[in-house]
Symmetry: C2
Subunit: 200 residues, 2 copies
DNA sequence: GCGTGATTTGACCAACTGGTCAAAGCTACG
DNA sequence: CGTAGCTTTGACCAGTTGGTCAAATCACGC
C-alpha cells in the first residue's frame, strides 16, 4: 500500500514534524502543548489534527524516524577497516550529528530522562543487539593487539556521552566558554582522548 | 532572621521537596503537575500549597540547593595536590554523585535541556568563574609537565559528560548491559581513560 | 467556470491545571 | 481541661489542555 500525498500534505506534515521536534526536544512530551506546536508550524490547532490524529502520533513518528537514523553511524563501524581509524571516524560522525542535529539529540535525551517509556523495547532489543555485536568486533581488535584493552561497552557509552553532551548541554557549554563555538575544540579534544586511549 | 520550624513542617517540607525532585527530574518543570507531587508526597494539593506558595517555588528551592552541592567536587580540586590524582579523584567523586544522586543529575539535565531558563545567570556567572579558575590550575600543571597537554575546558566538559551520562541515561545503559550494575565497570573504565589521557 | 474532494477554521467540549478559601481538625502549652 | 495557633481539607475557580465537528473555503482536473 503506497501512501500518496499532495504537495500541501507533504509541506504541512513536514512543517508539523519540524515544529514538533523543536518543541518536544525542549519540553519533553508532557511539557509540550499542541498550541505550541501549531504556532511553531504556522497552523491552527484543528489543522494540526487534520494531519496527525493526536499529539502522541506526532511524537511517535518523530521518535521512530529518529531511531532509524540515530544508529546509522554505529552500523557503519566496519570490522574490516582500520580499527583505530574506524572508531575515530565513529566519534567524528557522532560529533557531527550533535552539531548538525542537536534537536534530535535532545529529543532522544528527553525520552531517556523520562525513563524511555516509548522506546524501552527498542533499547532492550535492536539497540542492545547492535551494541553487543559491535562490542564483539572491538573485542576482536583487542585480541589481535590492534587496539588497547578497554571495556567495549563502556567505550561505546563514552562515545555517546562525550559527543551528545555538546548537543544536550549546549547552553551550559557555551555559557562556560563565553559563547564561543565549542565544536572545533571538541573535535580536536575527542580525537586526542580516543587516540591516546586506544593506542595499543 | 532565623526561620523556626516545627517537626511537622520539617517533615512535610522535606517530603514535598523529595517528591518534587522525583517528579521534576523525570518530567521537567512544565511536564510536572502539582497533583503528581502531592501524591508522591502523600499530601493533598492544598496542603502542598500551605508549605510552598507555588509550583515554581518548589522547583526554585530544589534548583538552588542543587547548584550549591553540585559544584562542591570541583571546588575541591586542589592546586597543591598531586595533579593526576586530583583529577582522578574529581572523576570518582562525580561518578559517585551520579550513582548516589541520579535524580539531582536528571533535574539539572532537564533544566539545561530546556535552555536553562532559571539558571542561565548562574551558568554564565558563578559556574563560568569557577571553571575558568580550575582551568587555570590545570594549565599550570600542564606547563610544569605534570599533566599531558589537553584543553582544560574540554577536559572538564568530558568529566561532566562521562559521569553524568550514567545517571541521566541510566535506563539506556542498563538496557544495553542487560540490567547489570554499570558503576563498577564505569569506575574502572573512566580511571583508565583519564590515566592514559593525562599521563605526561 | 464548475464541481468534487482536499483543506482550513471557529465554536465547542470535557478533563485537567495551578491556585484560593473558609471551615474543620488537631496539638501544644498554660 | 481549654484555647490559640498550627495543620488539613473539600469545594471551588478561571485558564489551559487535547481533541471534535460541522461548516466554510480552497485547489485542481474536466
Amino acid at each position: 500500500m503506497v501512501i500518496t500525498r499532495t504537495r500541501i500534505q507533504e509541506k504541512n506534515r513536514s512543517a508539523i514534524l519540524d515544529a514538533g521536534l523543536e518543541v518536544f526536544s525542549q519540553y519533553g512530551f508532557r511539557g509540550t502543548t499542541l498550541d505550541q506546536i501549531a504556532e511553531a508550524a504556522g497552523l491552527s490547532k484543528p489543522n494540526l489534527l487534520y494531519y496527525f490524529p493526536s499529539k502522541e502520533a506526532i511524537h511517535t513518528e518523530l521518535l521512530e524516524s529518529l531511531l532509524e537514523t540515530w544508529l546509522d553511524p554505529l552500523h557503519a563501524l566496519d570490522d574490516g577497516g582500520d580499527p583505530i581509524g574506524e572508531i575515530l571516524d565513529y566519534v567524528r560522525r557522532k560529533l557531527e550529528m550533535s552539531r548538525d542535529f542537536p534537536r534530535e539529540s535532545r529529543l532522544f535525551a528527553n525520552e531517556i530522562l523520562q525513563g524511555a517509556p516509548r522506546i524501552d523495547d527498542n533499547l532492550r532489543g535492536e539497540l542492545k543487539t547492535l551494541v553487543d555485536e559491535k562490542a564483539q568486533v572491538i573485542r576482536g581488535w583487542i585480541a589481535t593487539g590492534k587496539v588497547a584493552p578497554v571495556d567495549p561497552h563502556h567505550l561505546i557509552f563514552s562515545i555517546w556521552a562525550l559527543t551528545q553532551h555538546y548537543a544536550d548541554f549546549d547552553v551550559q557549554v557555551r555559557a562556560v566558554l563565553g559563547g564561543a563555538d565549542p565544536f572545533p575544540g571538541a573535535q580536536a579534544y575527542l580525537d586526542q582522548v580516543f587516540r591516546t586511549l586506544l593506542r595499543p
